[in-house]
Symmetry: C2
């Protein structure tokens, strides 16, 4: 329509020709056919990055984990749906082989149940308590960074529940050093912040731990600031 | 608009004056501020019952647990949002005190973590495995049935992962006897069935274990068949 056409004219195509993979949403690890361990992530921030990148000329693959919001796929925006962390790892690893940039915005479950019950766990059989053993999932961000192609840019996300900016930065600097990513987007989350909201507030650090960007606002405007780092 | 007005004319007001509480969605039990144990329920079936009941003249309170779909509240449809099983129990118990019918369509977590971590559990601190102890949640359906007002009708739901109709009926008959509800709506669910889909297939048994209704189709048409039992 007219608004879209006008926006298309004014949006600079400064990511033209770049192949960008974006993960979004939160992975779910099944306990049985009806229960799972999930992450509180609507996928809105990752989706805004994917849509924003496509609007700026990039060819985008969006790997979406249980998205609560949906992207309209187009020639410039391919969508791959996944649910578990292992499925997300397989999809993003495959897509990364042909990508210039990988943005890991999805909230990935660090642990999954050691075993998945084939039928619904019945509480009358289980008794008053249930012991669950969880095992560690692969570290997808570190894996992508370790397998990085020449010139490929790897962007990670860290959602931390800390009280202040200095604690957030300290956690972020330790994390990017450990993971080997090029940029890490930090945001503070709590019981009510960051997830499933329309706005966000972030700090981006580079591999040296320096702050290279800060942004607050709608998830669309925050996405634009993150994408500015890739131009 | 015209379609709504026409539908309003042809929909019989056969639930006029009835006060109906409907729970919908799936409860989430937090492990920490970002992780939870969830149930695969979109809330669509419960929502269809709530909307259908209001259209047929009932005054409806919808207790929605993490609904992926949303109802437009109106004079005849009040919406209360909850997340955990304990929150759902408090909301449905309060609403039931003034209700003629309670329909427990929500998928309720049988267990919750014994303790909730105040900050995000860090995998570099935890190591390769994580042991979780879950404790049993209250049995809301049995509680409602036990506290039933004179003439109040209690409708439960049972989503079972069994292979055939006879197994489903046997589980359902044992469950309604145990819970003390008036009707139990049974449906078979699996990795791909029943949840988050647009259609559903159900069998309803009464407190004697007799089949009183069977329906397959859209969640709206299945809702209508369940509501027929209340007229």
């Amino acid at each position: 329509d007219i608004v879209e056409a006008a926006l298309a004219v004014v949006t600079p195509k400064d990511l033209l020709g770049r192949r960008i993979v974006v993960t979004a949403g939160g992975t779910r690890e099944p306990l049985d056919p009806v229960r799972y361990i999930g992450n509180r992530s609507s996928g809105k921030q990752g989706l805004a990055i994917a849509v924003g990148a496509a609007a700026r000329g990039a060819t985008v693959t969006l790997v979406g984990a249980n998205l609560e919001v949906h992207a309209a796929a187009s020639d410039d925006l391919h969508v791959v749906h996944v649910s578990t962390t292992l499925e997300l790892e397989a999809a993003v690893t495959a897509a990364a082989a042909e990508a210039d940039v990988v943005v890991m915005a999805a909230a990935v479950a660090d642990y999954r149940p050691e075993s998945v019950a084939p039928a619904k766990i019945k509480k009358d059989v289980q008794g008053d308590t249930l012991q669950l053993t969880l095992v560690k999932n692969p570290d997808i961000l570190a894996g992508l960074a370790g397998a990085r192609r020449d010139g490929q840019v790897i962007v990670g996300f860290a959602a931390e529940t800390v009280d202040d900016r200095e604690q957030l930065l300290a956690l972020g600097r330790a994390k990017i050093a450990r993971k080997g990513a090029d940029y890490l987007v930090l945001n503070r989350v709590g019981w009510t912040e960051g997830f499933a909201t329309e706005s966000n507030s972030i700090i981006v650090v580079n591999s040296a731990g320096d702050i290279v960007s800060e942004a607050s606002g709608t998830k669309t405007s925050v996405a634009a600031r993150i994408l500015d780092l890739l131009t």
